[in-house]
Symmetry: C2
Subunit: 307 residues, 2 copies
């Protein structure tokens, strides 16, 4: 049984107040897979790159227990490329360049060996492509998590709404939750979105943490207060990867276990933002991850004795 | 032994997206005293109002165990009045009117019967006035908590810096912490501010919760996700009142107990914002407060089992 990760593998060029990069490894599925690799060993990747994509990157993913048989390498084509610049508050950014390249015609193919998929993480992609993956699976995974963004709400809302009916957990940020629901209050937004199909909703609030809702319960996890956020790129995907990786490792999809998964996801995301791109997600030790999770426990734990 | 609360008692006229009020009861010391009254019984108030201040308001405070012997009622003068309008996001507001009235010449007098002060909450006031209170106390309280705002950083920074050397806990919001320290990162801001004098710093982030720092530790408490925030006026003061009220009730000024106090403060603030002004802070039952605190426990508690 395995974790299937579907999403972009890309090149990013990033500028923050702390510096800038040339084309470096990026993409939602890259961050998700690397983050999940600290919790579970059997990760299958479905994505697409061009022939400009270095073999060393593929080998690095494989060293993190990521099976890349489902990573299409298209001859004569170029890898998806995004360039962006963050503002001083690090919460907002401008897109400088988006070159879809191989993504323009991406036709995901789930290899036969991936059909044992028990947990599925659909990273941010065109909703139609996310549905193509769902339709190729012969049996329904135990848990389907989907990430999406405001862009698809703007241009592909009907397809997105159709996809939402087929999934278990939706992860979006606070402004996307407001856009999708038409409600400013996140509590009201959550109930409207849960009525669209997902059984669970995770609202990511960046430096302000994350909320987990089902129809009856709510859980909140903070982000770790860091001395500096160096580069927020991939934070949401690292969060999702840590979340689904922990779920896949524990095979427990209860609300109680999702709370723990959110803490592990938050811990993984906190590593991601400390350096540029995926740099800090490569080669973490189990001790480093455990120590970071303990920081979260220390950050929020208290004993109440009612007076 | 008692809790001494110093701050404004005022009239507010408030407009939010949900409605508007005529002149209603407001003021930092009002919110602080009412909030504290759910935890501790021996509350002494030092403040000033004009002869336009209704006796019914004073009686209401007294019913909440607030001793008003230190509340000066100035003949022929008018009570401090503030009018403001909140924007749609409820996080920002415009001041429409500020009439200082009795505050212009406020000379705080600590009655002899208040000298048993064990815990002191200095609500937001001119730093010079806060110092006048400190100088009247014959023995130093066990814990001195001070609230201030950006306005005093703009026009009375030397006096504020002097006052910060004399206190134990400073409560400010995130933008004020950034202004006071010159650091964007709240972690760096906290360390700079703690070097200015306070042993503890509470950074209030409104709907995003609150952080408690000392030089070695950090604790985070969320705000309760509410269906609607009706009126944010007084939220920070209710938070401070719940915090100091719980500390006064338990007489424990350890970091561990301050964590609990922050949860009680957050719970009290969550009541405050559900209605206009002080309306929801009058006549709460112990059961309601306890149930609200339990909501906070449920919101953030998790058990981590490292995989």
């Amino acid at each position: 049984m395995s974790l299937l990760v579907v999403g972009t593998v890309a090149f990013d060029a990033i500028e923050t107040p702390f510096g800038k990069t040339d084309k470096i490894l990026g993409g939602a599925a890259t961050y998700i897979s690397l983050a999940a690799s600290y919790f579970t060993k059997n990760i299958n990747l479905v994505s697409v790159v061009g022939e400009d994509f270095p073999a060393a990157n593929i080998e690095m993913l494989q060293k993190h227990n990521v099976n890349t048989d489902g990573l299409q390498v298209l001859k004569g084509q170029k890898t998806f490329f995004w360039a962006g610049k963050y503002h001083n508050d690090m919460n907002t950014r401008d897109t400088i360049t988006t070159e879809l390249n191989v993504l323009e015609t991406f036709n995901p193919v789930v290899p036969e060996a991936y059909q044992d998929c028990e947990f599925l993480m659909l990273g941010n992609l065109m909703p139609k492509v996310q549905q193509q993956v769902l339709s190729q699976l012969k049996s329904r995974p135990k848990l389907i998590v989907l990430d999406t963004m405001n862009f698809w709400m703007d241009i592909a809302m009907p397809e997105l709404m159709e996809t939402l009916k087929q999934i278990d957990v939706l992860t979006i940020n606070d402004s996307e939750a407001r856009q999708l629901s038409g409600e400013y209050s996140l509590v009201k937004a959550a109930q409207k979105i849960l009525a669209m199909g997902p059984k669970y909703l995770i609202i990511k609030k960046g430096e302000h943490g994350a909320l987990l809702f089902n129809k009856e319960q709510v859980f909140f996890a903070p982000a770790l207060p860091l001395e500096d956020v160096f580069d927020p790129t991939g934070a949401g995907d690292s969060f999702a990867g840590g979340f689904i990786g922990y779920i896949a490792a524990t095979k427990d999809i209860s609300f109680e276990n999702m709370k723990r998964a959110i803490i592990f996801g938050s811990a993984t995301a906190s590593f991601c933002v400390e350096k540029f791109g995926t740099e800090n997600l490569v080669g973490l030790t189990q001790e480093e991850v455990d120590a970071r999770v303990q920081e979260f426990v220390d950050l929020v734990q208290f004993d109440i004795a009612l007076v």
